[in-house]
């Protein structure tokens, strides 16, 4: 809402309050003043000039040579390029020495050999936005009414010396979508009175019902519909002061009748519509829901197809307006209009919002209906409009009002104690202070034994409960006067849940071993949604995505982590190690909330370790990543319960991928990206993992119990086993552990060999076995006996031979 400082003074005395102060106080009390703008944007030295002569410029087709009286000394010669300049006009002249917006200084000049002493200005040149300039002056200079005094300050006449406050209104403060509403707010802040417009309406002897009748079918959507007939109007421009106020508020002037409806809309917040009575095509108004497929051509010359959700004003048969949003072209007020039907109605917000949204039409009217207007002003606004049409369009008001009123307006009263106010706010406000605030707000109230009973005026539709009153008191009392305290309650210590604490440790661990935490988007494309997913489900698609790239909820974190690798590589960052924790979304039933499971994923590429001057350079490989994960499982106390199993997974290298099992259930995987996917993402050899973090963190682990530190020496025996290449180390290790029994405490692989010194198809794996008994020193014979069993077992199970 744009509020003219000068206009506002018609309703509230602003003596002694500068624009800046006013803006600050309004902001402090609850409505943010987003900007304060002076309309002339720094222009000065512009006066009203009288064009005494106009002739064709001798050397230029498109220029005029004018002789202009500017009210000082001899008339001056000015060259003008506007097509509409003519003898006898009163125009805005920027004198030599004047400054126009943009710090444009006017100097004496010669244009194609002819002297020019100033400039005749268009409104745009004076700082008015093009879209606000009346159509007839859109492509040329502005012409004042003939009674404009020569030499007078043109900027003042055009109200361009005014300043405009832009209010950022929250949805609850629709009452301030009108000058009168703002006036009440300002009056409450300043503790001053509101002066409402006086309406002097003279009706003729005729009866409006002889002209028109109104029926409302959709009373739910339209609880109040009122109208008047004004006849014998003469369409022409509205007075300059009205036009300039409209422009200051951001509305383009059209003609007197339309301008008056817009003026009332700004003044009262009540949207009005003026129909050309003779073009209505009947003597009847019927308000109803549109029929599906029904059409209307609106004022913007657009044909709109309607549905049963839309409310229309009809002439009994066909629509003449899309209610509350825009009038129809068929009944538009035109230059030859003589009789006007003014509509002032209350349409409910939901209906108007739907229509405005469906048709992409946001008008000053629809905005107000959507936010909710004050129906108590509907008829007053109608009367004021009719009176102004008499005054400024020469009309005659037909006696009476046509009206359908099914409005059930109940008085809103709120009862609240002083104690409640102070208890909620934590203040010691006195009952006198509360009374002053309510008085300034012009809320009627009674106070009895510190109990306030308040009758809320209908303009403040946002107030209906105690808390609303508390807020009014608080904001006008001033939040800076609110003390700062802490809740009085027994203080219980806060704490992370075990899950949250573990998750933090997991993150910290991964970072400490060299991975950066990434956060990527949850929305992805349908193709990427299920890629790499540990579990897949039917993709969850947004009803109205903004793009295909962000249309579906992800089921794996990896596609976006790979985008991170790719993004970095494109910027010459070749060594990337990132991880992410975040939800994936798995749905069973589209009408239920999906299951959100937390995942942990990582992507690592490039060099893992390098210290070049020492000749050290290690690229990431499978075992680097596996080592990181082993550390993670160790951290979580799950190392004994984890298993890696060779696996084939889509998008993964078939020979370099392992499923990870916890207690025998797959909870993730690790491996190298398939070269094909690598190419798709434009990345180099990349290793990835994804784990079901929820399962990992929720796995029950035993509490830490101290166990004896071995006091007796252990005995270590090494064996190198030659086996077929296909035999996997994990299986042999498992067999060794089983055969070794109680005494075998640790099995370590310390060498793997394939090559010339072995027959084709064979490999050798060397294990180091450590035996000990915490209770005593083992004898060589005991260990040898167990060790023999181990060797026998692997020979038998894997056809292994001892490497000599």
């Amino acid at each position: 809402m744009f509020v003219s400082y000068k206009w506002l003074q018609e309703y509230v005395d602003l003596t002694g309050i500068t624009v800046k102060e006013l803006a600050d106080r309004i902001t402090k009390s609850g409505i943010e003043v987003e900007s304060v703008e002076i309309l002339n944007k720094g222009a000065k030295g512009v006066v009203v000039g009288h064009v005494l002569e106009r002739e064709q410029h001798p050397n230029a087709d498109k220029l005029s040579k004018c002789l202009v009286d500017i009210g000082e000394g001899e008339p001056v010669q000015i060259i003008c390029g506007a097509p509409n300049v003519a003898k006898g006009q009163k125009v805005a002249v920027a004198k030599v020495g004047a400054v126009l917006p943009g710090n444009f200084k006017i100097k004496r000049a010669k244009l194609r050999g002819e002297e020019s002493n100033g400039m005749i200005c268009s409104l745009q040149e004076l700082g008015v936005e093009s879209k606000l300039v009346p159509k007839e002056y859109a492509d040329g200079i502005f012409v004042f009414p003939s009674d404009a005094p020569v030499g007078a300050d043109a900027l003042e006449l055009l109200n361009l010396d005014d300043e405009v406050l832009e209010l950022g209104l929250t949805p609850n403060r629709a009452d301030c979508l009108s000058m009168i509403g703002v006036a009440y707010e300002v009056a409450a802040i300043l503790g001053r009175d509101v002066k409402l417009p006086t309406i002097e309406l003279h009706e003729n002897d005729e009866n409006v019902h002889d002209y028109i009748s109104v029926r409302v079918e959709a009373t739910e959507d339209n609880p109040l519909y009122a109208g008047r007939i004004v006849k014998n109007v003469k369409i022409g421009p509205s007075p300059l002061w009205m036009q300039t106020r409209l422009m200051a508020a951001g509305i383009r002037p059209h003609n007197n009748v339309v301008d008056i409806t817009n003026y009332i809309l700004l003044e009262y917040g009540q949207p009005l519509h003026a129909f050309d009575y003779d073009r209505l095509g009947s003597k009847e108004i019927l308000v109803r829901r549109a029929k599906a497929g029904e059409t209307i051509i609106t004022l913007d010359d657009t044909e709109r197809t309607l549905t049963e959700d839309h409310l229309v004003i009809t002439n009994g048969t066909e629509p003449v307006a899309l209610a509350g949003v825009m009038g129809g072209a068929n009944s538009e007020v035109q230059n030859d209009t003589t009789t006007v039907f003014i509509e002032s109605a209350y349409f409910t917000s939901a209906t108007i919002r739907k229509a405005s949204k469906d048709h992409g039409l946001r008008s000053e009217a629809s905005t107000r209906f959507e936010k909710g207007i004050d129906p108590a002003r509907t008829k007053e606004a109608l009367d004021r409009a009719a009176a102004l049409m008499v005054e400024y369009a020469g009309g005659e008001v037909v006696g009476g009002v046509v009206e359908v009123n099914t409005l059930k307006q109940e008085k809103v009263t709120v009862t609240i104690t002083l104690d409640r106010i102070n208890r909620v706010l934590g203040t010691n406000i006195t009952k006198e202070e509360v009374a002053t605030i309510l008085t300034n707000l012009q809320f009627a109230f009674t106070e009895d034994n510190e109990i306030f009973t308040i009758t809320v005026p209908s303009r403040r539709r946002d107030i209906s409960i105690e808390e609303d009153i508390i807020e009014e008191v608080a904001r006008l009392y001033g939040y800076d006067r609110l003390p700062a305290t802490l809740p009085i309650a027994e203080s219980k210590p806060g704490k992370l849940t075990s899950y949250q604490a573990k998750r933090r440790k997991v993150r910290r661990y991964l970072e400490d071993v060299g991975l950066f935490q990434a956060i990527t988007y949850s929305l992805t494309s349908e193709a990427k949604a299920t890629m790499f997913a540990l579990e897949t489900a039917k993709p969850i698609r947004l009803a109205l995505p903004m793009s295909e790239e962000r249309s579906v909820l992800r089921q794996s974190l990896l596609p976006h982590l790979l985008e991170v690798v790719s993004y970095n590589r494109a910027r010459q960052v070749e060594n990337v190690a990132v991880y992410e924790t975040g939800a994936v979304y798995l749905t069973k039933d589209a009408h239920e909330l999906p299951e959100e499971k937390e995942r942990l994923a990582g992507a690592i590429t490039g060099l893992w370790h390098a210290n070049l001057w020492q000749g050290e350079k290690k690229a990431v490989d499978f075992y680097v990543v596996k080592g990181i994960l082993d550390g993670l499982f160790h951290l979580l106390g799950l190392e004994q319960r984890i298993e890696y199993k060779q696996a084939k997974r889509e998008h993964m290298h078939p020979g370099r991928t392992a499923d990870i099992l916890l207690d025998g259930n797959v909870i993730g995987f690790v491996g190298q990206l398939h070269p094909r996917v690598q190419k798709d993402y434009d990345v180099k050899e990349t290793y990835v993992f994804e784990l079901a973090l929820t399962d990992l963190l929720n796995a029950e682990v035993e509490d830490i119990r101290y166990s004896l530190i071995p006091r007796f020496p252990s005995i270590t025996r090494d064996i190198a086993l030659v086996v077929d290449e296909q035999v996997i180390a994990g299986d042999i290790q498992q067999a060794i552990i089983e055969a070794g029994g109680e005494l075998l405490k640790e099995v370590t692989i310390f060498d793997v060999y394939k090559g010339d010194r072995l027959p084709d198809g064979k490999k050798s794996i060397a294990f180091s076995l450590r035996y000990f008994d915490p209770e005593r020193t083992l004898t060589d014979e005991e260990v040898t006996a167990v060790h023999e069993q181990v060797i026998k077992a692997v020979e038998k199970q894997f056809g292994a031979t001892l490497r000599g």
Binding site: I519, Y567, V578, H591, Q614
Partner: protein, 344 residues
């Protein structure tokens, strides 16, 4: 004989001093104290002496022997020391060469901010509540006093999946869910961090996905002044002990009264600078007293219980705190961006 011994001692001590390495020293030892050495020889000649002279000479021989022995040991220690020093000198390295790098990653800047805020409120007795990102319209809007058709729903255009299910537009539904779980009994004291989603085109200041942290306290006798005190405490711990806060009236459907909360500029201390756009204040939070409808819908008696709630955006805080100019940085994960947040 006595003279001979003194002469031998004299000679030996000179040779010991002259010995320049351990081998030379050993040669001296063998030469003077060895079985074939001159002192042994003197001993052998003692048989010729009278029984009175013998013990006197014996003592003298021992004296000489010990003197040589001790000189030898002293010299040996010195030579060994020199040898060690020489060896160590030859082992010297260039300490200015780079060390073996330890690979280190770090938190994402948003996590850094979120954890800092979490810890701060945990210190004030809050717990952390989490909830689903895909939410029911009921928890995201209706339970928060935003019935269907409410004009304030326009304020946050949302990603709907079905008519009843959407991506949450704020973390407030977690508050609604938590209150519901409490079945009308206080106190509730929680912080809700998490991802939220809105229909915005991604640009320097907008992101369709971002994070939020909200706080909620519901109990008997919670006052708006408690909100002010709590947030002032938060602002001081987060942005510096001499920070102040101010409330500006505002509107949120789920709180009443509602306020915007500004923190005095941590960059200029309130004098005005480009961070605070010359105002001395930075808008950081939205807050207010929990709307009675919200309390009632979650099963709390709004006559008995009151509460306050507040919310803030970690992106905004991180941008202000670290001077980040574009919100998209948070989601592009450029390593050169991420690694700037490595310090404790």
């Amino acid at each position: 004989m006595k003279e001979r011994l003194q002469q031998l001692q004299q000679e030996a001590l000179e040779k010991i001093i002259a010995a320049s390495d351990l081998k030379a020293l050993n040669d001296v030892r063998v030469a003077y104290l060895g079985k074939k050495g001159p002192i042994t020889e003197v001993l052998r000649g003692m048989g010729k002496l009278s029984p009175e002279e013998r013990p006197i000479m014996g003592a003298l021989v021992n004296e000489v022997r010990e003197a040589i022995q001790s000189a030898l040991e002293e010299k040996q220690a010195k030579l060994e020391q020199e040898e060690v020093e020489k060896k160590l000198a030859s082992e010297a390295i260039d300490v200015t060469l780079p060390g073996r790098p330890v690979k280190l990653g770090n938190h994402h800047p948003l996590t850094r901010v979120i954890e800092e805020i979490e810890d701060l409120f945990i210190g004030m007795g809050y717990t952390i509540a989490e909830g689903p990102e895909v939410e029911k319209d009921y928890y995201n809007f209706e339970a928060l006093n935003l019935p269907k058709g409410h004009p304030a729903r326009d304020m946050q255009d949302s990603f709907y999946i079905t008519e009843e299910i959407l991506l949450r537009t704020h973390t407030s539904p977690v508050q609604a869910r938590t209150m519901e779980k409490h079945q009308g009994r206080g106190p509730v004291k929680i912080i809700c961090p998490g991802k939220v989603y809105r229909r915005d085109n991604d640009d320097a200041t907008h992101s369709h996905q971002f994070t939020q942290i909200e706080g909620l306290v519901v109990d008997e006798n919670i006052r708006m002044s408690d909100l002010k005190g709590t947030l002032r405490e938060f602002a001081r711990k987060m942005f510096g002990e001499d920070r102040d806060i101010r409330f500006r009236p505002s509107f949120f459907p789920f709180t009443e009264p509602s306020v915007e909360v500004d923190v005095s500029c941590f960059n200029c201390g309130g004098h005005g600078c480009n961070v605070c756009k010359g105002t001395g204040w930075i808008e950081i939070l939205g807050a207010g007293m929990v709307h009675p409808n919200v309390l009632e819908m979650a099963g709390f008696d709004s006559k008995k219980y009151t509460g306050f709630a507040f919310g803030m955006g970690p992106e905004r805080i991180a941008m202000l705190k670290y001077g980040i100019d574009d919100i998209r940085h948070f989601y592009q994960n450029d390593i050169r961006f991420l690694q700037q947040f490595h310090r404790v």
